[in-house]
Symmetry: C2
């Protein structure tokens, strides 16, 4: 009783009207108000109308926080994003947030500069009782994966995978894509091939490098060049390309871990007066928007972002509904987009 009085007399509170206020105005119980706003609950048309009128008059809005407390579900998905400078991840992020929003989920962002920070911030995100976590472009330590499993929060790795954990994964089929690039370059008659790598420890980089070099070996090539791009930025591509092209035996084709690296490579080649694609073929990865601009017109591997994101979300939804599902890993095939930065075979 005292409670009700408090609620209706204290007009200074910020949070607006509560169900109790609405109930009193409509002359029904708080439960009736709750049921009115719960789809599928049992309320007569009569009470419903009274409640809605009262709610309207008071400007009532359901308090999602209170609901979450009971339901053990927030309708929030945490997204971890590490490499903010890469336009590729922006499209990924955009697709995720938009599609999740269409499904009625909201997005809590965890911005980490390094993998280490992911370790630090993830536990805090778990405190917000997010319904699921999507991790893009970062590795998840198994300790952290266990932590998520313990709280029952499903985790999807995007473009990474970690074996031996309960973290699901959706990746571009990097191995096949890299093999495809190797074939295309060899068919184009190139002899001295090179690869500029991305982040050393990542499964993504490992798969691309292995797919590429394995295919070279299969077709009888025993030597190639390899440069590390470290951080996979434009600048690191520029620097790595400089090391490659100033050698005595420069490559006649370079496969780059990302489009940003490829653009750095392309700009450096132009600066040195190396003709692309006559003297040097360059192939990127991602197919970011800029790759299609006339200034670059980059031949590259298009990651099917739409399908990858769809698959990741489907997997996540399934995992939310059936917590004890076994770990899912999916590889989505990529496509070679031929523009003018590489001289390729006809087939």
């Amino acid at each position: 009783m005292a409670q009700k009085d408090k609620s209706s007399t204290d007009e200074t509170r910020l949070s607006g009207a509560s169900q109790i206020d609405v109930a009193r105005l409509a002359g029904v119980s708080q439960a009736a108000v709750s049921r009115t706003f719960t789809p599928g609950a049992s309320v007569s048309a009569d009470t419903r109308a009274k409640v809605l009128a009262a709610a309207q008059q008071l400007g009532y809005r359901p308090n999602v926080i209170a609901r979450s407390l009971i339901k053990h579900s927030t309708n929030i998905i945490g997204i971890v994003i590490v490499r903010f400078w890469n336009p590729f991840y922006w499209r990924v992020f955009k697709e995720f947030t938009q599609k999740l929003q269409d499904l009625g989920y909201w997005t809590l962002l965890l911005n980490a500069s390094h993998d280490q920070e992911v370790e630090d911030t993830l536990p805090m995100a778990l405190q917000y009782q997010v319904d699921g976590i999507i991790i893009t472009s970062a590795t998840l330590s198994s300790r952290m994966a266990d932590e998520c499993v313990r709280t029952g929060t499903p985790v999807i790795l995007f473009n990474r995978y970690v074996l031996g954990t309960r973290a699901h994964a959706v990746c571009c089929d990097n191995v096949s894509a890299a093999r495809m690039v190797a074939d295309a370059l060899l068919d184009g008659g190139h002899e001295r091939l090179a690869y500029i790598a991305g982040e050393a420890g990542s499964s993504t980089n490992r798969d691309r490098e292995q797919g590429f070099t394995q295919r070279l070996q299969e077709r009888g090539y025993t030597s190639w060049l390899c440069e590390s791009g470290n951080e996979y930025t434009y600048e690191s591509g520029y620097a790595a390309a400089k090391r490659l092209l100033q050698r005595d035996d420069p490559p006649d084709a370079i496969f780059c871990f990302s489009d940003l690296i490829a653009m750095g490579t392309l700009d450096l080649a132009r600066e040195l007066g190396v003709k692309v694609p006559e003297d040097l073929s360059i192939i990127g990865f991602d197919d970011i928007a800029m790759a299609g601009w006339p200034s670059y017109s980059l031949t590259t591997v298009r990651q099917p972002i739409g399908r990858m994101v769809d698959t990741a979300i489907e997997t996540l939804m399934t995992a939310i509904e059936t917590p004890d599902i076994e770990t899912v890993m999916k590889w989505i095939p990529a496509e070679l987009v031929k523009r003018t930065s590489a001289r390729l075979g006809d087939r």
Copy 2:
């Protein structure tokens, strides 16, 4: 009592241990546990140790949702972002999320394709009891601003302002920046100037256009060209530049609303064989990363993102602490970055 039993016997619950579980294990009251995790609360070193040990053993993590329910504060800031394709806003977004995170706030993202969607999604975000809202690159209707004020949620507009609402605003000083560009181009000896606009209705576009043309008038120029860029993308810049450069009297200098537009313009000029900057000067706005790449080397106006974001966050924090503060509007000065796409005067 019954409650305690439930809590400790039901081992299947997902949400992990609660303060009650910890309290029982440590042999103290639930309040003692709460105090242990509340900085500044009164607990003896002895109990604190017992509680921490028990918490550790049970893997206890505070439930932020429950805390938020009481405190009427979630430590979450909602960020509305509309134009996802513009690299400028990526940097803005990155700065916001990182700095907010350092302050202990989290970011809930609202991704809207159009201004209309902002109207629709904002009320839903308010239900999450966010402590504040930052709106980048979108306008806020006064109806919606009132809605926010009603719930006591402070709003910061970033690079927009709307007069007559209670929404605070932090903007780049677009008027001064555009006047600076006009001066620089006139000092460089240009005669036929043009402006390629951004989004028609925005305060940002209006201020840049007015600053530019007013300065031209002040210095005795009575005619100039103006093209609409509609959506301010690379493609729209490319198209607008085509219309400008295929005229009988093409401009010898183009001031573009954004770097993306300027890059489209630059690529189109190259395609038509127009020499930049000899025959045509191009100036952009934003200074996105790509503007500095050798392929473009774009002369442009650098928006001081760091300072702008800092100011926005400061303003927001003040508004959160003192709800009844008067509406704040701040304009941050910009800087002209001289590269090679424009022929400018020496001074």
